[in-house]
């Protein structure tokens, strides 16, 4: 099955098979966690769908969907402690939601308002990072600050498969290994960097092997199995917290959506491949497992979906009713204090817009 997609999923670590059966036993005590993961994955999927439709109806900016990659984000979020710092790229809404970023803040950011990055919770988490892989060096700096201050905290950095080709990723990996930094790199390998498929991104058989040259462990996991992601990231985070250094995790998934709402993947991607990929998607298999274990049923599914939709609608309503920042907002946080040289430009702006 996986071979048809040329995904190396059979070689990577997995607990929950695509049909919801278990490849490896999961401790009974972990099932409440799996239930929480499932609920969170449903919430982000329903919210994500709404974001795409807001864009389609002209009420939203360009938006990168997380469809199909929910297990990675939720697994990472569950594996982190509150005092850790998450350093995202720009397709990390799922992890951000678990970190405490509100749906409203996510909407504000992608709706084109800087206030969406002024997280009211997780104040030390970094904001979305658009220039590819540059967040990796920032995460290394965050981890360095923990090390310098002898704090038992961990920086978790997220990136896509395309980002693994960039110097910033390799430089950060190299530093993390050299300084034994308390950090974890998670590659969301969703097989596509806009239109460029994974095999044109690197000659390496496994992106996880890039860890070897940096002197740290690297591991592939089935990124559509939330428990596999959680376990791998948790182990890496615990290890980093214990002062044993960084790790790289390559979570293998598939981008079931376009790159962003500005993209049309049908121009470069075969529909058969996409259809096949849906067989491995993460939400369905977890539901099957939970239902098999008697922990979930159709009526719970409907009630929870309704609840997630209500959360989403509430956040959307708040977002759509939020007034834009005043024109001078662009000056307000440029420097700690407005430099004298900018006072005239500030006044010009106010005069032009009668603010």
């Amino acid at each position: 099955m996986y071979q048809a997609l040329k995904l190396p999923l059979d070689q990577c670590h997995r607990f929950i098979n695509a049909d919801g059966t278990l490849k490896h036993t999961i401790d009974e005590q972990e099932f409440p966690l799996l239930l929480e993961c499932y609920k969170a994955m449903m919430q982000i999927r329903i919210f994500d769908k709404k974001c795409v439709s807001l864009q389609r109806t002209g009420r939203f900016g360009t938006y990168p969907s997380v469809l199909g990659m929910e297990a990675i984000g939720i697994g990472v979020g569950k594996a982190m402690e509150e005092e850790d710092v998450f350093v995202p790229y720009y397709r990390d809404q799922a992890t951000q939601m678990l970190r405490g970023v509100s749906l409203y803040e996510i909407l504000m950011y992608w709706g084109g308002d800087e206030r969406g990055a002024d997280y009211q919770n997780c104040r030390q988490d970094l904001p979305n990072c658009v220039p590819i892989a540059t967040q990796c060096t920032h995460a290394a700096g965050v981890a360095s600050s923990f090390k310098i201050r002898k704090e038992k905290r961990v920086a978790v950095c997220s990136l896509g498969d395309g980002a693994s080709s960039k110097g910033d990723f390799m430089e950060s990996l190299n530093l993390a290994g050299t300084w034994k930094l308390p950090m974890v790199f998670v590659i969301n390998n969703n097989q596509w960097a806009i239109s460029v498929p994974r095999h044109l991104q690197s000659g390496a058989e496994r992106l996880a092997d890039k860890a070897i040259g940096a002197g740290m462990p690297g591991e592939q996991v089935d990124g559509n199995d939330v428990y596999a992601v959680y376990r791998a990231v948790k182990r890496a985070v615990d290890r980093a917290r214990a002062g044993k250094g960084p790790a790289l995790i390559e979570a293998i998934s598939y981008r079931l959506c376009d790159h962003t709402t500005a993209d049309d993947a049908s121009r470069y991607r075969a529909n058969e491949e996409l259809e096949k990929a849906w067989e491995f998607e993460p939400v369905k298999r977890l539901r099957a497992l939970l239902e098999n274990k008697g922990l979930w049923n159709e009526s719970q599914e409907l009630a929870w979906a309704e609840h997630c939709q209500a959360n989403t609608d509430k956040a959307v309503e708040l977002f759509l009713n939020t007034e834009a920042q005043p024109p001078h907002a662009m000056f307000d946080h440029l420097y700690a204090e407005l430099p004298t040289q900018l006072e005239e430009q500030y006044a010009t702006l106010l005069a032009r817009h009668h603010a």
Binding site: Q124, P127, H138, A140, G141, S144, S145, I148, G167, S172
Partner: protein, 340 residues
């Protein structure tokens, strides 16, 4: 500044005959001693004390957890500084030469300069990026350019350039204390050639005011960095011709203290801007534009610029043809005075 030494603070030490390098070193020592959040990182800054010795003795004094030799990767150095600063540290990141700043440019321009705005003030990047810059020391290719204008164009950062040991000490201390990211460019041609006494009292110099090094009434000479030395020499030569020149050292390039320059030019009606950087699209052009906008009818002659050329900096054999000289500034000033 040629002003008299400040009144001594209780803990102040007078450091005699300090070079600009020693002044940088003294400021780093003082800043690190006063604030545990100040950390140093860069290539060769630790055990070796920097290729110019600017960070000599600091790792020994403060430990390798606060003075960090990084792998040889400039984007990494700048990016790590960004990450550290978001968590409350005050990193001083050394870029070994300005010519190697370009891998780091993305982090300075796209992150350090924007983090505060991006997060509505939630996170910020109080970083000092130190880099030796400028020509005149017969260095290999990429070691001699003056590219301050590339950075002065960026919203969200400060660009500071000292021109004497005392200003290096005071401006660097203020740069480290600044809540904003600062590009601190050290003119390496005068790293060891100028000496002055420094009061090591932890007192910074303002980052929003130009330094009027010499008062005068006939013409305003504006410069910054190493060329301030030649500009002052030119002013003294002009004095011998009976011409009273005012000399302004920008000190802080961005944000620019327009008021000091404007007040001087309103008084003298004439202005020569001297800089080592290429002629066009630079800081000199910005000053000239500002004067044209705000002092056109006070000008008694066109503004003149004495600069490097819009060329690639020649290798050492012909480097001297590129560099503006004292006499070039004197001639420009005389031409300006002879206009009308």
């Amino acid at each position: 500044m040629n002003a008299p030494l400040k009144e001594l603070q209780p803990n102040a030490k007078v450091l005699k005959d300090q070079t600009l390098l020693e002044a940088v070193n003294a400021a780093l020592f003082t800043a690190m001693g006063n604030d545990d959040d100040v950390v140093l990182l860069g290539e060769d800054v630790g055990m070796n004390g920097g290729v110019f010795r600017a960070t000599a003795g600091l790792q020994e004094a403060f430990g390798n957890h606060r003075v960090m030799d990084t792998p040889l990767a400039e984007a990494l150095i700048a990016g790590v500084a960004v990450g550290m600063s978001t968590q409350g540290l005050k990193p001083v990141a050394e870029l070994q030469f300005m010519g190697f700043v370009f891998p780091a440019f993305e982090h300075i321009a796209c992150h350090a300069a924007r983090m505060r705005n991006r997060t509505r003030g939630r996170l910020s990047c109080p970083i000092v990026f130190r880099a030796p810059f400028g020509g005149g020391i017969h260095a290999p290719e990429h070691h001699s350019e003056s590219t301050e204008a590339l950075f002065a164009h960026l919203p969200g950062i400060r660009v500071v350039i000292p021109s004497s040991p005392r200003r290096a000490y005071g401006l660097l201390l203020s740069a480290i204390e600044s809540p904003d990211p600062v590009l601190f460019l050290e003119p390496k041609r005068i790293y060891r050639s100028l000496k002055s006494d420094i009061i090591d009292d932890g007192q910074g110099l303002p980052l929003d005011t130009c330094f009027t090094l010499k008062e005068g009434s006939d013409i305003t000479l504006v410069s910054w960095g190493a060329l301030v030395t030649e500009t002052l020499d030119a002013a003294h030569e002009l004095e011998a011709h009976g011409i009273s020149a005012e000399v302004i050292d920008l000190g802080t390039i961005k944000p620019l203290d327009e008021a000091t320059i404007l007040a001087s030019v309103m008084k003298t009606g004439r202005c020569v801007i001297a800089h080592e950087a290429c002629h066009s699209f630079g800081v000199g052009a910005e000053i000239a534009a500002m004067l044209a906008e705000k002092a056109l009818f006070n000008l008694r002659a066109p503004i003149a610029r004495v600069t490097g050329y819009d060329t690639i900096m020649p290798l050492p054999t012909n480097e001297h043809y590129y560099m503006p000289r004292t006499n070039d500034i004197v001639e420009a000033a005389i031409n300006t005075l002879q206009y009308e």
